[in-house]
């Protein structure tokens, strides 16, 4: 499953409440501008864990994009707290982690904290959109055990999200050099694979 950046398929994030957490002002701006470009209007920006926890306690969040905070691992702790200590529906909210770098000692935290997916920086709009659509797909069970609370980490082999494409793979001038797109026809379908259920791991 890969999303063509020139696709005319439609998606709608205008009603989605998105929580962004990144302690770095520049990182938060980059994330915010990507989400704004993708059509999100309800963006809650947090620069501290305390702010993020307060926001989760007060609002129903549909999507969380959380920086791991490479030097402290605070993002992992936040996700762990979310899965363990918050009631539904926020406990089940899709969480995308963003990471500048993952220390070798933190690899297991990445796997075990309860997030849906890790995106490595630098971020690009198309990769962010692909991952958002991927985590929204129906059918992924949520697992609760003594040692792990979060989405089932087992995938069917056809459900692994595509090759890792990064920002510098997108030619920055390409969009402006393209001829204007055809106007969208009436009834243009939404992105088709949103509806495709996830394949259970065998």
């Amino acid at each position: 499953m890969s999303l063509d950046p020139k696709s005319r398929a439609r998606f709608n994030l205008s009603q989605t409440v998105v929580l962004l957490f990144d302690p770095q002002a520049a990182g938060l701006s980059i994330l915010g501008e990507i989400l704004r470009g993708l059509g999100a209007r309800n963006i809650l920006r947090c620069r501290t864990i305390e702010e993020a926890e307060k926001t989760v306690s007060e609002s129903q969040i549909d999507l969380m994009i959380v920086d791991t905070v490479a030097e402290s691992g605070a993002g992992f702790e936040f996700v762990r707290w979310l899965r363990k200590n918050t009631p539904q529906p926020n406990r089940h909210a899709p969480v995308l982690l963003t990471a500048a770098h993952t220390r070798s000692s933190d690899v297991s935290k990445t796997r075990d904290c309860g997030s849906h997916f890790l995106i490595t920086k630098p971020l690009s709009p198309i990769v962010m959109l692909e991952r958002i659509i991927w985590v929204a797909r129906e059918g992924r069970p949520f697992l609760l055990s003594d040692n792990y609370i979060g989405p089932d980490r087992r995938f069917g082999k056809n459900d692994r999200p595509y090759h890792p494409r990064r920002r510098h793979d997108d030619p920055p001038e390409a969009a402006t050099e393209e001829p204007a797109s055809e106007p969208l026809g009436e009834g243009e379908a939404p992105i088709p694979f949103i509806d495709r259920p996830l394949e259970r791991a065998s």
Binding site: L13, I34, G39, D62, P89, A136, S181
Partner: protein, 164 residues
């Protein structure tokens, strides 16, 4: 015995994405890219600031191994990853990640060799300077490959006698 159970949540996000209206993928990606272009000056400033901070931090390194010093340098570099791509210097992100790898591996080995760090910071300075000049540093891939080789040496570390 571990207590395991499954829940099957209905995600509001799944329904929202399919709502009428919204954006075409191509338009959304273009709009997001245009938004990022507006951040270019701020990200360039951030890259220059991080490069200077890394240099200052490195200048303060003592002659013996200090985990605190390496942690400080790691934090400076990790925080800046991602701004290079926005300000037209994606190779700077590559150099920062390579430096993070290097410092992480040095901490694992409890050693601190100055030259590999110095060459990373010098490269960052050049890349930040070239980004400020509007040079897209297209030929920096070879340099980046060299930096990655330097970092990779610390996966299978050289004998201590070879260190500075």
């Amino acid at each position: 015995m571990s207590n395991v159970r499954f829940e099957f949540p209905k995600l509001r996000l799944a329904q929202q994405l399919k709502e009428a209206g919204g954006l075409a993928v191509a338009d959304a990606v273009e709009a997001a890219s245009a938004n990022l272009a507006e951040l270019r000056p701020a990200c360039l400033t951030e890259l220059q600031r991080a490069t200077q901070e890394a240099q200052d931090c490195f200048n303060g390194f003592g002659k013996t191994y200090s985990e605190a010093s390496l942690k400080a340098l790691y934090a400076i570099c990790a925080r800046a990853v991602g701004v290079g791509a926005v300000c037209g210097a994606p190779q700077a992100d590559g150099a920062l990640v390579s430096l993070c790898d290097l410092v992480d591996r040095m901490m694992n080995l409890e050693r601190c060799d100055r030259e590999p760090i110095a060459v990373h910071i010098q490269t960052l300075q050049i890349l930040a300077f070239r980004a400020a000049q509007g040079d897209d540093a297209a030929k920096a891939e070879d340099v980046l490959a060299g930096l990655r080789k330097v970092s990779a040496r610390y996966l299978n570390p050289p004998p201590r006698a070879a260190s500075a």
